[in-house]
Symmetry: C4
Subunit: 205 residues, 4 copies
């Protein structure tokens, strides 16, 4: 193991620590109710739901972070700072989710929610660009790179649209954000049949 | 160290971070009492006891997670998501335990407690299946696989029974859950004498 | 890297996560005062002092944990469970320290404090025994093993004495606990001159 | 992988865990407001701003910690304890930052803030000295060592000045602290043109 290799691993270890704290922050708010009845569980649903949604979305972000970091093998100062920016924006997701849930999808919280995801996406775009630049040409086909790029721009567009729509139609705006996040459910954009070799080469890297 | 190997290690590092936060969440609720007397410690016993039980149970889950992950050597998207589902269900254990303790084993909290363990077990079943599928045939004997499978089904059955029994006999239901968790105290199901070779091959993997 | 080696590393990673949470728990209680004056900082001193003491003592425990784990190279089920017991007892240190500080070293809190350290020491004794058993004979000289053993017994004796003395002389009892912990400031017991070879062999392992 | 190598890695893993907790502590204070209006977000700005500043400064500290630890390859007892001292001082940054923000840069909080950074810098100086001593001569040129040393002394001077100026000009004092921290934005002091070979050799270590 060369020291250079250890570097990127320490970046991953630190990021995993931050992700582990962020993803579990909201469970701290799940406090057992006083009375042992189902009725007393009811007031907890916004907290429970926002924990579930925020957990799911941060899990999606981690999956993509994990996928991309496989292609980077040097923790350059630039990559370190882009990663810090990315983690910072992600750390705002639980707060924004909690506000949306506690206000039952009101306009201003949804606006903030979409704005947080615009920031997450902007940092992710830089992160993706930087990690893929370090990857060798034969690891990722031009088509895969193009698809990744298009998906990122589409997601950014959806988040921006959600921001502008939020004041009129907060629920539509919230649905838009969810759809855009779900675009990332599979880290690697699907490859049309006939190019499966490329996909395989990626998987075994 | 191949990049593929590093993958499964990052999954383990992230899971360990989440486990470390979850297992220590309840100690945050142990607040020093105001007065320096034994009497003022008394109101803390439900918190202390539920910290102990939740710590023990999450330790058992970690031990099995640790044991199974040794057999997986590729962090496939499927394994990553099953792992996220598993960690999510485990993260609800401290909350459910605290409610059971603070209500002194009342019916509804025990019902929720058993339900959380049904979810934990369902996610664990998938995790176990997926990790053991990746293991090579000679690493785990068919008998060991069968025993693991039977234990999981027995535990699931006990958790489900506990759910249905909770409204009538909450204390029995709670005891059932504890028994089912203790089935996992040793990650690997015991192997009858005469098959010790198999057990040794597992231990040295 | 063999899977067996990876095992002990995952035990270390998980333990480090738990230590990282435990050692920083008390800083969560350091809340900025309302008024921007030195006087308003004063009520924080018990919290600040107990954070410092608890940080120092947990740092000493980590140093010894780190030192001993170098000698173990297999994470046997026994070692895993002793480690869980050790981490559990350590996780009670911040709570006990906070109670001692907030009650200005009153009798009952000091009794609890000494009792927690008795538990920490009992778990540590097992941990030390198990880790050193795995170490090869040439790594640790019989004299070093004997010194480690004697130190552990002396510390246990001091903690027990502190427990029994606490009701009469809480401040003496507290001082006894501190002295016993400071015995571990250097993980390896000092080796008398003339045996320096042994010490070197340990350092380079 | 030799056990000695594993040692420094465990020090890094533990430090990363502590950094991950410290850097995200302040986001716990970001609580969603009750009403879904922009006006209700306003009272959160001191918390949000101090989270941002404290995140940025701790990120800078991590970057330098990460950079220096590459040169150390043995976790000596001395390095372990200097690292603990360093982490302890860093763990006070969120508290001090929050006080400065909530009092809108009042004199006493800024004094404490500068004092915390004096402690951080003193521990960092030891850490830097110890890590660079372990580095081989050809890894770091004498010029780079000298520049690192000068920067540390300049930063220490600025932090001390900020302490003494804080009672008269709290805002200037706060600006001084920020400037001194930003000196570390790039872990390695810039190398004048003509010595680029040295810089390259460092980057590829």
């Amino acid at each position: 193991m060369s020291p250079r290799k250890a570097n990127i691993e320490r970046l991953a270890t630190f990021s995993d620590g931050v992700f582990a704290v962020i993803i579990t922050i909201m469970v701290l708010d799940l406090r057992p109710p006083e009375h042992p009845t189902f009725a007393s569980l009811l007031p907890l649903w916004p907290t429970a739901l926002s924990y579930l949604v925020s957990y799911l979305f941060i899990a999606i972000v981690w999956t993509n972070h994990h996928h991309l970091l496989r292609f980077a093998d040097e923790s350059t100062p630039r990559l370190i700072w882009i990663n810090f920016a990315h983690l910072f924006t992600v750390s705002l997701v639980p707060f924004a989710t909690a506000w949306v849930a506690s206000t039952r999808i009101a306009a201003v919280p949804v606006f903030l929610y979409a704005a947080v995801f615009v920031l997450v996406e902007l940092a992710y775009l830089q992160f993706e660009h930087h990690a893929l630049t370090q990857a060798e040409v034969e690891e990722i086909s031009p088509r895969t790179r193009r698809l990744a790029w298009i998906r990122s721009l589409v997601a950014l567009g959806l988040f921006l649209t959600a921001m502008f729509v939020s004041f009129e139609f907060p629920r539509c705006s919230f649905a838009l954000v969810c759809c855009a996040v779900l675009l990332y459910l599979v880290p690697e954009p699907p490859v049309p049949p006939g190019e499966s070799t490329d996909s395989v080469s990626l998987k075994t890297v």
